[in-house]
């Protein structure tokens, strides 16, 4: 009592932890159908992507990546290098794990684009929307993942569903930010010119602003993919199988060598995805001018 100047007064402290716990539990009980429906939708789509990847023979996938790498960079040896790197993942015995990881990453990226692209446009078009959504984005990016990982398990059980949720929350942010950034930074004169010729706001958006902002939006996609990749190990904590789980098992046993291989595999996938999307950005820049 005597040193309330030095210590925060106890009477002014409050604790909402319990009521939030109870709230989450009641929500999970009362709206079970909703969560089950979401769960079924997620599981079906992730499994769909997985079986599509699984159906593709390994050599075909390597071949496709080689061709894409060659096309994007214009150099044959880049394509060959990508092929060799993917082959290395396969020869480390991690092919199936890679596909499991990829299917969650791809699903998260698709979901991020579906959510992030329109939201980015909304922020760019409306100042009010921006002042509401921007602080939420800051929150999503800085909130430690573990804080929403456990409630995600309570609501969506374990496995792909909470993994996809956590990855999307984290990875959608650059998609939104860079979409709005790109559209905001299209030359105002160009937009005015379009309007002077009688196009509506919507027409100016679709025909002028979005095509002009394409390379920035692609950069957002690239960042989204990279951030989704970085969540792979965290997702293993909630039971998502794949490369992250291999790392987790190995590190928990302090088998550092064994953890290295899936670690390298993640780096390889990230590099390939990064270079391929970077190539797309360069191409869209080239067509712009």
């Amino acid at each position: 009592m005597d040193n309330y100047l030095l210590q925060f007064p106890e009477a002014w402290q409050f604790d909402v932890g319990d009521s939030i716990d109870i709230w989450i539990k009641t929500v999970s009980q009362d709206h079970r159908e909703v969560f089950t429906a979401i769960k079924t939708a997620v599981i079906t789509s992730v499994k769909g992507i997985y079986s599509l990847l699984e159906m593709t023979p390994w050599w075909l996938l390597i071949f496709i990546v080689m061709i894409l790498g060659w096309r994007m960079s214009g150099k044959k040896r880049v394509g060959a290098l990508f092929g060799a790197m993917l082959f290395f993942v396969g020869s480390s015995g991690l092919w199936v794990h890679m596909l499991q990881t990829l299917s969650i990453v791809i699903a998260a990226v698709i979901l991020s684009v579906i959510l992030g692209f329109p939201l980015g446009i909304l922020i760019a078009m409306s100042k009010r929307a921006e002042s509401i959504i921007r602080p939420i984005l800051d929150l999503m990016q800085t909130m430690p993942t573990f804080v929403y990982l456990v409630p995600a398990v309570i609501l969506f059980s374990i496995g792909m569903t909470p993994a996809l949720m956590a990855t999307t929350i984290y990875a959608v942010v650059p998609m939104i930010r860079l979409t709005s950034h790109g559209i905001n930074h299209v030359d105002t004169e160009v937009v005015e010119a379009a309007k002077a010729f009688g196009s509506t706001t919507l027409q100016a958006l679709i025909k002028v602003q979005i095509p002009q902002a394409k390379s920035t939006i692609m950069a957002g996609l690239n960042q989204t993919i990279m951030m989704a990749m970085s969540m792979v190990v965290t997702c293993a904590l909630i039971g998502a199988n794949g490369l992250g789980m291999e790392i987790l098992i190995a590190t928990n046993r302090t088998e550092m060598g064994k953890a290295l291989m899936p670690g390298i595999a993640i780096v390889i996938i990230a590099i390939i995805l990064d270079r391929l999307t970077q190539g797309l950005i360069k191409k869209s820049e080239a067509t712009k001018t």
């Binding site: 990982l149 456990v150 374990i158 496995g159 792909m160 904590l237 789980m245 098992i249 590190t251 302090t254």
Partner: protein, 333 residues
């Protein structure tokens, strides 16, 4: 410019040093800091707080701090002597335990809890139902791990409708390896998928979520822990423990001894504390009571530790010489 910055840095640094020095002289002699592992589970946190009270109040010149981290990382830190003591050490889950002991890096000081259990658990309502909550017993004849074969449909895997789901232990723990062997050996792999969760927090969250909804759940758990104290869960029976066969997954888990393990440097650093750690022993019943108290009252671990030492006052006489026990009693009054 550079000189000025440098001067400011020197002044600031010496002020910090002076302040630090003041703090040191106030408490008298040189204070030795004891570092204990905090791997994040409740019972260990409680034991750490009990030990903190005894080490700082019952003895002179000791300070007590925690090293918070994963059990694997803390174990490595203890091997090199950065961490002094691991109270409530699940040595059976540490693959390298015997080697580390043989290398002399660590020493076993005592046994904290003699009768700890682990294995596959189900909520009690799965077997007996719960009238108050309107839950029907789905598997009234489920008694042993082998019986699980007949009940796979009641423990559905929502990612694979053709099979049930068993929640395994934490990846990398010995218990997980053994349970996985058992899962294959007992032919449960034909009926169930074996799901691994990366951390205890999420494993307990999945059990809690299922319990909350009254859904069947089968998976790994251990006692004493707040989950086993708070939820009514039942250990599935298995073949009686036999060394040799157990490692292959053929028998159930033995009652585990939870030990107090210390870095070998502790004996030199704090010789008078060894007598306390050697006799520090609680048994799982007292711990479960304290954990239940923790959960019911929402007390902090520190408050629960004080409650524990007041409620089970007699333990002080078992653990400590007379005058030290008196000092602790005086402090927690």
């Amino acid at each position: 410019m550079m000189k000025k910055t440098l001067l400011i840095l020197i002044v600031a640094f010496s002020m910090v040093m002076a302040l630090g020095g003041c703090g040191g002289t106030e408490t008298g002699d040189e204070v030795i800091t004891i570092t204990a592992t905090d791997n994040g589970w409740d019972s260990q946190m409680l034991h750490n707080e009990i030990a903190r009270i005894i080490v700082t109040e019952g003895y002179d010149n000791y300070d007590f701090q925690l090293s918070t981290g994963s059990s694997t990382m803390n174990w490595q830190a203890m091997l090199v002597g950065d961490v002094d003591v691991d109270i409530e050490s699940w040595t059976d889950n540490v693959v390298t335990y015997q080697d580390d002991l043989a290398s002399g890096a660590i020493v076993e000081l005592g046994v904290l809890v003699e009768d700890s259990a682990q294995g596959f658990y189900v909520p009690k309502y799965v077997i007996e139902g719960d009238e108050a909550r309107g839950i029907e017993a789905v598997a009234p004849d489920l008694k042993t791990v082998k019986d699980l074969k007949d009940y796979a449909e009641f423990f559905p895997d929502d990612e694979d409708p053709s099979k049930g789901r068993i929640y395994g232990s934490i990846p990398g723990w010995m218990a997980d390896e053994i349970l996985y062997k058992k899962y294959e050996l007992y032919g449960l792999d034909e009926f169930y998928n074996y799901a691994r969760l990366g951390s205890e927090a999420t494993l307990w969250a999945s059990l809690n979520a299922a319990y909350n909804l009254g859904e069947p759940w089968v998976g790994y758990c251990y006692e004493p822990t707040w989950v086993s104290g708070k939820l009514d869960i039942v250990l599935l029976e298995d073949e009686p423990y036999e060394p040799g066969l157990f490692e292959e997954g053929k028998t159930g888990f033995p009652k585990q001894k939870l030990k107090i393990v210390a870095s070998s440097a502790l004996a030199e650093k704090a010789p008078d504390l060894i007598e306390f750690f050697e006799s520090y022993n609680t048994g799982s019943e007292l711990v479960s009571k304290a954990l239940a108290y923790l959960d019911e009252t929402g007390a902090t671990h520190e408050e629960a530790a004080v409650w524990f030492l007041t409620e089970f006052d007699y333990v002080l006489d078992e653990w400590l010489p007379e005058e030290r026990a008196a000092k602790v009693r005086e402090a927690i009054q």
